[in-house]
């Protein structure tokens, strides 16, 4: 009975369904990019996705048991963290390194900060950054679809001025890249389900993708290529829409998306790395409390702060 009423601090946002339902819809949506990764990069992709989900769930259960907290693995968030992490690392990545990443994501990035709802950073992306800093060689070992010949990502090819795959290849996902990021088609289907079920909202992804396209165009680069070539679509639909690590209000989410877009463009065109989606979203994660403060939802009848009587 005591679970019937939950006391929590505001702001309270009303959403249909419980957070549990929302989480499982994300899992369903992620099955589409997963399917594409298995098609293009082989069964190891599926092994990685399943394995990292299990490791994440196990890590969360052990951590919560040891900390004498209620075990909340059934909310699906650990499964999502594991799947997301598996989908943003290269094909044929060693399983043990992936497992370290999953444990880092669940325990250090989420658990140590207070668990689901209190983590500042997107666990999967923070773990990806950790893996990139720790094993940079394994984390940039991209391969061609259907065989294990190494190839750089299209963004890297563009940066060093070599021939890049065509739009159609990039759209269906026949290019080098992280497991889940290559197939724009499957990402869009997954994202479509999430929009249909109202799990994610428009402002962050559209602002993010729109900003990248706009600045690419203004800087004389090919906007369509910039959208399809890297991890932008995956990041925009699955990472920049995370409830915990993005702003609460729609206005705030729009600002968040624009910020991610500007940072991504800066890193891609002026930075040392070919891709900037990972760091952009992490940097904007840090700014969420500030964005929330200036773009909070207004309560009915509330006077604006700057409104004089």
């Amino acid at each position: 009975m005591e679970n019937l009423l939950t006391v929590s601090s505001g702001p309270h946002v009303r959403e249909p369904g419980s957070s549990k339902d929302l989480m499982w819809w994300v899992v369903v949506a992620l099955l589409f990019p997963t399917a594409a990764s298995v098609y293009f990069f082989g069964i190891h992709a599926l092994v990685m996705v399943v394995f990292l989900s299990l490791v994440s769930v196990a890590a969360e259960a052990v951590f919560q048991r040891l900390g004498k907290q209620p075990v909340t693995v059934s909310d699906g968030s650990a499964v999502i963290t594991g799947m997301l992490l598996a989908l943003v690392i290269p094909p044929h990545f060693p399983l043990w390194m992936g497992a370290i990443g999953a444990v880092f994501a669940v325990i250090i990035v989420k658990g140590f900060f207070g668990g689901l709802g209190f983590n500042i950073f997107n666990p999967a992306l923070a773990a990806r950054a950790m893996l990139l800093a720790s094993w940079p060689v394994a984390m940039t070992a991209w391969v061609k679809p259907f065989d294990a010949i190494t190839t750089p990502t299209p963004l890297y090819l563009a940066k060093i001025g070599e021939a890049v795959p065509g739009y159609w290849e990039m759209f269906i996902g026949a290019r080098g890249g992280s497991l889940g990021e290559t197939s724009a088609l499957m990402i869009l289907i997954g994202a479509g389900i999430l929009f249909w079920k109202k799990v994610i909202s428009w402002p962050a992804p559209t602002a993010y993708i729109g900003t990248v396209a706009l600045f690419s165009f203004l800087l004389g680069k090919d906007p369509l290529f910039q959208i399809l070539a890297g991890g932008l679509l995956f990041g925009a639909f699955f990472m920049a829409t995370d409830y915990v690590t993005t702003p609460i209000s729609e206005k705030g989410r729009f600002i968040f998306g624009v910020g991610c877009g500007i940072l991504t463009v800066l890193i891609r065109f002026f930075g040392g790395f070919p891709e900037g989606v990972n760091y952009s979203i992490l940097i904007m994660n840090m700014l969420v409390p500030i964005i929330d403060r200036y773009a909070r939802p207004r309560f009915f009848g509330e006077k604006k702060l700057w409104q004089k009587k």
Binding site: F112, S134, P136
Partner: protein, 196 residues
């Protein structure tokens, strides 16, 4: 008995790094391997114990109004001496610690102990306080150094325990310092059973 108390305090209960959270700059910077951490610990111990001794000895002749400049003169004298000595006799260590040896001057542990303790207490207690604080600093710094070197390079004090290919390089990069120090602080707080 009370002398022992002065000694003990700095090690765990008022550990400068993990409890008082002062002197973090060198801790973050030179704890990427155990040898550097140990070398830095010796340099800080040398400066801290001697400056506590001198400040306490002269506490009656140091005018209150200009005590801080005088502390700084005393501290920087010892820091410069330790810098020269390290350069002359331990050139490799001096090269790997680099600018962080001269920077001991601005380490708040040393000025902090001079102001908070040595200026108000007798010589023997001040020396004991210096030794205790140095041990606490060394304990924290070397633990962090050992953990980071082990996880980040697969070795301890330079002895390779497992292949570098299995080591997570992030641990010897700056983020590794923050992660390690945070977890150690949490563990110590849990041990002392109170939350800051």
């Amino acid at each position: 008995m009370s002398l022992l108390k002065e000694l003990n305090r700095g090690i765990i209960a008022e550990n400068p790094v993990l409890r008082l959270m002062i002197g973090l700059c060198p801790v973050l910077a030179v704890s990427n391997n155990a040898v550097n951490a140990l070398g830095m610990s010796f340099a800080v111990a040398f400066v801290l114990i001697l400056s506590n001794l001198v400040v306490s000895l002269l506490r009656k002749v140091i005018p209150d109004e200009i005590r801080i400049p005088i502390f700084i003169i005393i501290i920087s004298t010892f820091v410069t001496i330790s810098d020269y000595i390290m350069k002359a006799y331990f050139p490799a260590l001096s090269a790997s610690l680099g600018v962080f040896v001269p920077l001991i001057v601005v380490n708040c542990i040393i000025l902090g102990r001079a102001e908070a303790f040595a200026y108000k207490n007798p010589v023997l207690s001040s020396v004991m306080d210096g030794i205790g604080m140095s041990l606490g600093f060394a304990l924290a710094l070397v633990s962090i150094g050992v953990i980071r070197e082990l996880l980040g390079a697969g070795s301890v004090f330079g002895f390779q325990l497992f292949s570098q290919a299995y080591a997570a390089t992030i641990m010897i990069l700056p983020p590794g310092a923050f992660i390690t120090i945070g977890i150690l602080m949490a563990a110590l707080n849990k041990m002392e059973n109170k939350v800051l």
